[in-house]
Each structure stands twice: as structure tokens, then as C-alpha cells.
């Protein structure tokens, strides 16, 4: 078996017992990137020298009998909105931070390094994590490994594609309205958004501070659990990270949840859902039922259209504040021509930001402005509470909630770029979860007739990741999706 076909858990085992070296694993990853990334464009930056040096160091330490950590020698990719102080830029997919070098590592990057991982590069994203297709990157889109004419989803499209195309077994992404789960679904991989506060946001470039969370991509649930365990936990530098012990997510992973009650919201199966997606998801639900789970019809009245509306008021409002710092003063792009200070800000930001970012800053500025604050922002926060109450009521009755992650499989590049609202509706099933702070995961559950992946989303209550991962493992076994390599890998072979 090629090293790139091994799971992260298998790699760790083989590297630790000497059957493989970290250098071999790194070289296999770098070779796959060289072979495939010309087509896929998952990466904005690949750290050849750094990864090789690091892999050699891991091998040296292993040979000396050291325990290098739970991710020993595993090649990992990091979404380019997380700070890396290793010589690689952190661009956030934006011209305003093109070639910006972070002066410190993000907390999650420190954790990867502490656990012996080998960071091979930074992945492509929608600019400042704003988007559902990775087409808003200032540096070109990423292509879906299952069909290069289609999007990988977004905003963490690069990380999703890198894992799907087997360039790396695991990667980090960030999720604010669905930006891990939706690309996971479109790329046929596992992607999880932990409970808000579970993983430190220190060093994650802020988009919406009350929604953003970092989470894992992997080809299977066990690897996702491995990466979550390595990166979760309290960090004093992020005042929104919680002081809660991190369970060993792997130890009981294969233990099914007895008498599992699965809530199936009618709102997640309404108009706009592609029939093939629905068929695959319902088949997986049926398989869970056949294995002893109970399906319970539930209603989440505010979780779809109203959640999108709430999300597209709350997140741009927070973004308008978070992105105010990109003004050409301390770092990043500064407009060459300007007359006054304010003029410098205005031209710097006009030149440095793409259209979607500008749209969202303006939306947020408007929603927070005098005369509109009550009607938009304050109203949205009230509906946010209603969304939270919908989930509280549901979780009193059921252990988890399941439905499709995305209403459609991967759409074509360019198909939705003329219609921002159509693009926003990609998040119809994923936006409610971050608003309520709860955890969610997307697990592959099948393919459409034309070979495009379909994802099933599982939602669980706050800090219930251990059980959520066990349930995800149950779905993984029940759905029994064949372990196929995507076409882009076969074409290159």
C-alpha cells in the first residue's frame, strides 16, 4: 500500500515501530502534491525544505527513543487563515495579506508541532474564510478531486481537497457557517466543527468571533478524532476557549451508542434538496435504523431559512469589526497613492479586498449602523436565541440530529458566482450549528449517479464530541462507502 493510502493512525503506528520513517511519509506526501496540485490547486504554499528538515528531526528523535507525540511523522496541511511562523506566508487567500508572515504560531499549529506532525503546506480558502466554494480566493480556485470542473466547497476547500486527493491524510480547516462540513461533504471526506470554545482560536485570523471554530478533515472518523484530540483544549490566550478536559476521543470510538435516538428534522428535507442527495442520506438513516437506532421526526422551525438570514447578519457584522484592522498601517498591503490618512485606508482596502469581502463588510457596517441596528443586528441576535432553543428542545428528546450536509453535490466552477444569494444558500443546513455553538460533523454516505460525493451531517449538543464521534463511526460503518480514490488520482497514475 502506498504511504498516501494509509490513514494517519496507520502512519503513526508504522512510523513509531520503525516500519516507515517520517521522511518516507513526508516524501510521499510531497510527491503526491507535486503530481496532483497543478490540477487541484489545494495549496497556496508548500514548505519543501521545512517539511523535510522537520521529518528528519522526527526520525532522529524517534531513533533516540523519544516519544515524539500522537501525530508522529504524519504529514498535515493547515488552512491559510491560521498563523504559521515557519517562513510560510499566512495570506488568508487575500491580496491584502499576500506575503504577510505571521510573527507567531497559532495555538493549533503549536499543538501539531508538539505532537510530532509534519506541516507540509498552507491550503487555499475563500478570502478571509468568506465563501462556500473557494472561488473567492484571490489566488485562484481549488478544484474538486472528484471532478476538476467543479468546486470543492468552501471556505476550507483547499484542506478538503488535499485530504480527498490523498496529498495528506489529515488537515485543519475552520468553520463559521459550514466551512469545514460543506467542503467535506462535496469532497467525500470527514469534516468536523467542534463545539465553540473547544479549540483555541489564538492565531486563527478572525472572521466572526462568536462563530469561528477550527476543526479536522480526514478520510475517516478515527483520524478526525485523532486530530481533534491533538488540537482541543483550553488556551489562556483565547478568552473564549473553555476550561474543560479533553476526553480521549479514540478510546471508545468503536463502541456503538446503545438505543441511539436520531432526530430527523423535516426542515432539512424540504424544497431545494437534490433528490440523489436525499436518497443517499435516507439510505444511510435506514441503515442506522436497521442496526438498532430509532429515527425520531423532529422540527427545528428556525434552523434553515431563518438561520441563513441570521447568519448573514451576525457574521458580516462581526466581520466588519474584525476586518477593520486591515488598513495598511501595521502590516499587509498599503495603497501606493493616497492623499490623506483616511484616503490611504479607503484605497488600501479597495485594492486589497475582493468583492465578497467588500460585500460582507458593507452588509455588516449597514446592519450595525444607527437606525438599522435594532431591525437587523439586534433582531438577528434574538432569532439566534430561538435557534438555540430549537436545539435545546430537540436534544431533550434525541441524542443527535441527522440530515444532508449540503442541499446539492459539488456545483460547477462559475455556476453561482454571479448570484451571491444562491451561493449563501449552500449553507442552509450548516449555518444554524455555529449560531447555537453546538458541534457538527459531515461523514461521507454515498455518491450520486455521476460519481459526486454525498455527505451526511450529524449534530450533537455542546461538548458532546465523544459521543458525536462514536455516532459518526456508526454511520461510517452503516453507510459503508467504498474506499475509492478520486478520479484526479487515477488520471495521474
Amino acid at each position: 500500500m502506498a504511504p498516501t493510502d494509509l490513514t494517519a493512525c496507520q502512519l503513526v503506528e508504522q512510523i513509531r515501530d520503525g516500519r516507515m520513517t517520517a521522511v518516507e511519509a513526508a516524501e510521499a506526501s510531497l510527491a503526491a502534491i507535486e503530481q496532483l496540485d497543478g490540477t487541484v490547486h489545494a495549496f497556496l504554499s508548500v514548505d519543501l525544505d521545512g517539511a523535510r528538515r522537520r521529518a528528519q528531526e522526527i526520525d532522529r528523535r524517534l531513533a533516540a527513543g523519544e516519544d515524539v507525540g500522537s501525530l508522529a511523522g504524519v504529514p498535515v496541511a493547515v488552512k491559510d487563515n491560521m498563523c504559521t511562523a515557519d517562513g510560510q506566508a499566512t495570506s488568508c487567500g487575500s491580496r491584502i495579506l499576500e506575503n504577510w508572515h505571521a510573527p507567531y504560531n497559532a495555538h493549533v499549529v503549536e499543538r501539531l508541532l508538539a505532537e510530532g506532525a509534519v506541516i507540509v503546506g498552507k491550503t487555499n480558502l475563500d478570502e478571509f474564510a468568506m465563501g462556500s466554494s473557494t472561488e473567492n480566493s484571490a489566488f485562484g480556485p481549488t478544484r474538486n478531486p472528484w471532478d476538476p470542473e467543479r468546486v470543492p466547497g468552501g471556505s476550507s476547500g483547499g484542506s478538503a481537497a488535499a485530504v480527498a486527493a490523498r496529498m495528506v491524510p489529515i488537515a485543519l480547516g475552520s468553520d463559521t457557517g459550514g466551512s469545514i462540513r460543506q467542503p467535506a461533504s462535496l469532497c467525500g471526506v470527514v469534516g468536523m466543527k467542534p463545539t465553540y470554545g473547544r479549540v483555541s482560536r489564538y492565531g486563527l485570523v478572525a472572521f466572526a468571533s462568536s462563530l469561528d471554530q477550527i476543526g479536522p478533515f480526514a478520510r475517516n472518523v478515527r483520524d478526525a478524532a485523532l486530530l481533534l484530540r491533538a488540537t482541543a483544549g483550553h488556551d489562556a490566550r483565547d478568552s473564549t476557549s473553555v476550561r474543560r478536559e479533553v476526553p480521549d476521543y479514540l478510546s471508545r470510538l468503536d463502541e456503538p451508542v446503545e438505543n441511539l435516538r436520531i432526530g430527523v428534522p423535516k426542515e432539512f428535507f424540504g424544497e431545494g434538496l437534490d433528490p440523489e442527495v436525499e436518497a443517499d442520506v435516507r439510505a444511510a438513516l435506514g441503515a442506522c435504523e436497521a442496526r438498532g437506532a430509532t429515527l425520531v421526526d423532529i422540527t427545528l422551525p428556525h434552523s434553515t431559512d431563518y438561520a441563513i438570514a441570521t447568519y448573514y447578519i451576525v457574521s458580516p457584522s462581526e466581520a466588519s469589526s474584525n476586518l477593520a484592522r486591515y488598513d495598511g498601517v501595521h502590516y499587509g498591503h498599503r495603497a501606493a497613492e493616497h492623499e490623506t490618512m483616511i484616503d490611504m485606508y479607503m484605497r488600501t482596502r479597495a485594492e486589497g479586498f475582493g468583492d465578497e469581502v467588500k460585500r460582507r463588510i458593507m452588509l455588516g457596517t449597514y446592519a450595525l449602523s444607527a437606525g438599522y441596528y435594532d431591525a437587523y443586528y439586534k433582531k438577528a441576535l434574538k432569532v439566534r436565541r430561538l435557534i438555540r432553543q430549537d436545539f435545546d428542545r430537540a436534544f431533550a428528546e434525541v441524542d443527535c440530529i441527522m440530515g444532508p450536509t449540503s442541499p446539492t453535490p459539488a456545483f460547477r466552477i462559475g455556476e453561482r458566482t454571479d448570484d451571491p444569494l444562491a451561493m449563501y444558500l449552500s449553507d442552509v443546513y450548516t449555518a444554524s450549528c455555529p449560531l447555537a455553538a453546538i458541534a457538527g460533523i459531515s461523514v461521507p454516505c454515498g455518491f450520486t449517479g455521476s460519481g459526486l460525493p454525498v455527505g451526511l451531517q450529524i449534530l450533537a449538543n455542546v461538548f458532546d464530541e465523544e459521543r458525536l464521534l462514536r455516532i459518526a463511526r456508526m454511520v461510517e460503518l452503516a453507510a459503508d462507502v467504498p474506499d475509492r480514490r478520486p478520479p484526479v488520482c487515477e488520471e495521474a497514475a
Binding site: H101, P103, Y104, Y196, G197, S210, A236, S239, T240, V242, D305, Y306, I308, A309, T310, Y312, I313, S320, A324, G328, V329, H330, Y331, G332, H333, R334, T340, M341, I342, D343, M344, Y345, M346, R349, A350, F353, K358, R359, I361, M362, G364, T365, Y366, S369, Y376, K379, A380, K382, V383, R384, R385, L386, R388, P420, L421, Y424, L435, A436, A437, V462
Partner: protein, 100 residues
């Protein structure tokens, strides 16, 4: 609810983003349609509902008032678009003739 060109320009100024004439027109159309959509929240009765700004029950997280190491000056200035010694150089902020 259609956004006028003036309103778009005003929002652009508030958000410190210079907009070309073409952009003002395009954004007016797009933002109007988005605002129409998000305006559907007015269909919901939220009488007596408290706003939820932060979904976790975490408040006023403080640390002891002890000095810690901060980012060293050189690192902080390393990516400056324009640096003068220990300072970030920026365009004039005060008007000519303003008293100290």
C-alpha cells in the same frame, strides 16, 4: 428594500472602502437583494426574547494583573509597510496649523 447609491457610498465610507461608480451600482443591486432576504427575520415574533450574543455561558474572562512578555518591537515592525526606526510611518493625521 432597495439601497440607494447614496446609501451604498455612505456605507462604503463608514467601512473605509473606496468604491468606483460601477461598484456602487453593482453593490447596490446585490446588497439590496441580500437585505431583502435577511429582512425575512421581521416575520418572526421575538417579543420578550433576549438577544444571544455569545452562545456559551462564559463571561468576563480575566487573568491576574501580572506583566507578561509582549511581542518584541522588531517582530511587530517586521511586516510594516513603512517603518521609521521604532515607529510605523503613516500619512499625516493632524491638519496643518492644528495646535498641539
Amino acid at each position: 428594500m432597495a439601497l440607494s447609491r447614496d446609501e451604498v457610498l455612505k456605507v462604503g465610507t463608514l467601512g473605509r472602502i473606496h468604491l468606483s461608480d460601477d461598484e456602487v451600482g453593482a453593490f447596490a443591486t446585490q446588497l439590496s437583494s441580500i437585505l431583502d432576504y435577511v429582512g425575512k427575520l421581521s416575520e418572526l415574533d421575538t417579543e420578550g426574547v433576549e438577544p444571544l450574543a455569545h452562545a456559551l455561558d462564559v463571561h468576563n474572562v480575566l487573568r491576574p494583573d501580572e506583566p507578561h512578555e509582549s511581542l518584541p518591537t522588531d517582530l511587530a515592525l517586521a511586516e510594516a509597510p513603512d517603518r521609521a526606526g521604532r515607529f510605523f510611518r503613516v500619512p499625516r493625521v493632524l491638519d496643518e496649523g492644528a495646535s498641539a
